[in-house]
């Protein structure tokens, strides 16, 4: 199968070379350690992973925040809560006045030693972005593991009881949807209305925003595509759904992703592919240079068709 190179496609929309428009979010992947082993995970995260960001590297991230006015810190993993310095790092980011987003898998919040995490989130006023691929048990458990759905619902109820997702509380709770297979996500707006109605009706749960995220052909989802014979069909679907507006709004253009060892990437997917920032800019956080990184050329590949298909996809959902 021969697919049109991504750079050629964006060149036809006058977007080549794709460049950063400035760093508004520092996305820190604090490690690949996770209590779950999800079938779609692009990080290939799990309980056996040893790659965890050290305090020294977290300090370097804080130095960057002190030296710049990057407004948002997006903390991801793995299960970021499992990094031993997680709480300290969140508190330090908040002391610097930064908006902090935590990407949680929800089930970790009921594991021993993490039960008070929702209260910690609330005390630090972090935005919680929770994975829940569907509002029904079977769809969620087939993707994320047996029993995940029930635990996730219990965690969402605890977050609600602390004010998360409640109007006027100032505590934001977002839910992330990703398709349960080799197809594109539905309209974010339409699905958000479904989720809000069904989550309230079935479980009495409220939340702020639904983010629809396209599965990218990376990591465990790529392995699934290959083993199920869906790779060719899915890639053709992504390529034929290329949306120039989604490419113009791609998240890599305003974030910088930091890997567990301090290596810099254009996004979390490039991170998992080992494609560090390139085109002559420094690729480790100890050599951080805002002026050069803010204008860097993005490193692209065929997987980029995932973020530019249909309504677009980013860590904050659809981009158009």
């Amino acid at each position: 199968m021969e697919l049109k190179p991504f750079d050629k496609t964006i060149a036809e929309s006058n977007l080549y070379p794709l460049k950063s428009t400035g760093i508004n979010t520092l996305q820190v992947n604090v490690g690949k350690l996770c209590n779950q082993v999800c079938r779609h995970c692009h990080v290939d995260a799990g309980p056996g992973r040893k790659e965890v960001m050290t305090r020294e590297t977290l300090e370097l991230c804080l130095d960057i925040l002190r030296d710049t006015d990057i407004p948002t810190v997006d903390i991801t993993g793995g299960a970021p809560e499992m990094n031993p310095d997680f709480r300290w790092f969140v508190e330090e980011c908040r002391k610097l006045g930064r908006h902090v987003m935590i990407r949680t898998n929800l089930t970790i919040l009921s594991e021993p030693g993490y039960e008070d995490m929702p209260r910690f989130f609330a005390e630090n006023k972090v935005e919680v972005i929770a994975s829940l691929p569907y509002y029904m048990e079977q769809n969620t458990d087939s993707q994320r593991g047996r029993g995940v759905f029930k635990k996730s619902i219990e965690s969402l109820k605890r977050l609600n009881s602390l004010g998360y997702g409640r109007e006027g509380s100032g505590l934001t709770l977002d839910i992330v949807f990703n398709p349960g297979g080799a197809f594109l996500p539905p309209s974010q707006k339409a699905l958000e209305a479904d989720y809000k109605r069904e989550m309230q009706k079935r479980y009495g749960i409220s939340f702020n925003n639904l983010f629809t995220i396209t599965n990218l052909p990376v990591g465990r989802f790529l392995a699934y595509l290959n083993s199920s014979g869906n790779f060719e069909m899915y890639m053709n679907r992504l390529v034929s759904s290329f949306n120039p507006l989604a490419a113009a709004n791609a998240m890599c253009r305003d974030i910088l992703s930091v890997g567990w060892d301090g290596t810099l990437y254009d996004c979390d997917f490039n991170q998992m592919l080992g494609l560090s920032v390139n085109h002559g800019v420094p690729s480790h956080i100890r050599d951080f240079d805002l002026s050069r990184l803010s204008k860097r050329q993005i490193v692209t590949g065929l997987h980029c068709y995932g973020c530019t298909a249909g309504a677009g996809s980013s860590c904050g959902g659809a981009t158009t």
Partner: protein, 110 residues
């Protein structure tokens, strides 16, 4: 030919424009307009298409509209109910013609 229906043939559908490009153009524009959001949502239209695909038993349409329904946010339960609607209409259509049978019996029986 191993089979009349091959999945890869679906992507050859636009080839129907060869020989009658104007007709294909009109069909494509009309088809696109039919499935655009209107008084019915795109999701509702995809579910109708899925049900009709089963009623006319078109493998291409079943493949295409199963994917389309998922991408429009329908779930397996909703899609299965839509197929039951198609099946009920097909079954009911057979059964209701039993009235014709009874009419004939009535007419030719002493």
């Amino acid at each position: 030919m191993e089979t009349y229906y091959k999945p890869e043939d679906l992507s050859k559908f636009p080839g129907m424009g060869e020989g009658a490009p104007e007709l294909w153009k009109k069909f494509s524009e009309w088809y696109g307009a039919v499935f655009a959001e209107g008084a019915l949502t795109e999701r509702e239209k995809a579910l109708i298409a899925l049900a009709v695909a089963h009623a006319v038993q078109c493998p291409y349409c079943i493949d295409a509209y199963t994917r389309d329904c998922l991408e429009k946010g329908s779930n397996k339960e909703q899609m299965t109910e839509a197929v039951h609607v198609a099946a009920a209409i097909r079954g009911g259509a057979s059964l209701v013609h039993g009235v014709q049978m009874k009419n004939v019996i009535e007419k030719i029986s002493m």
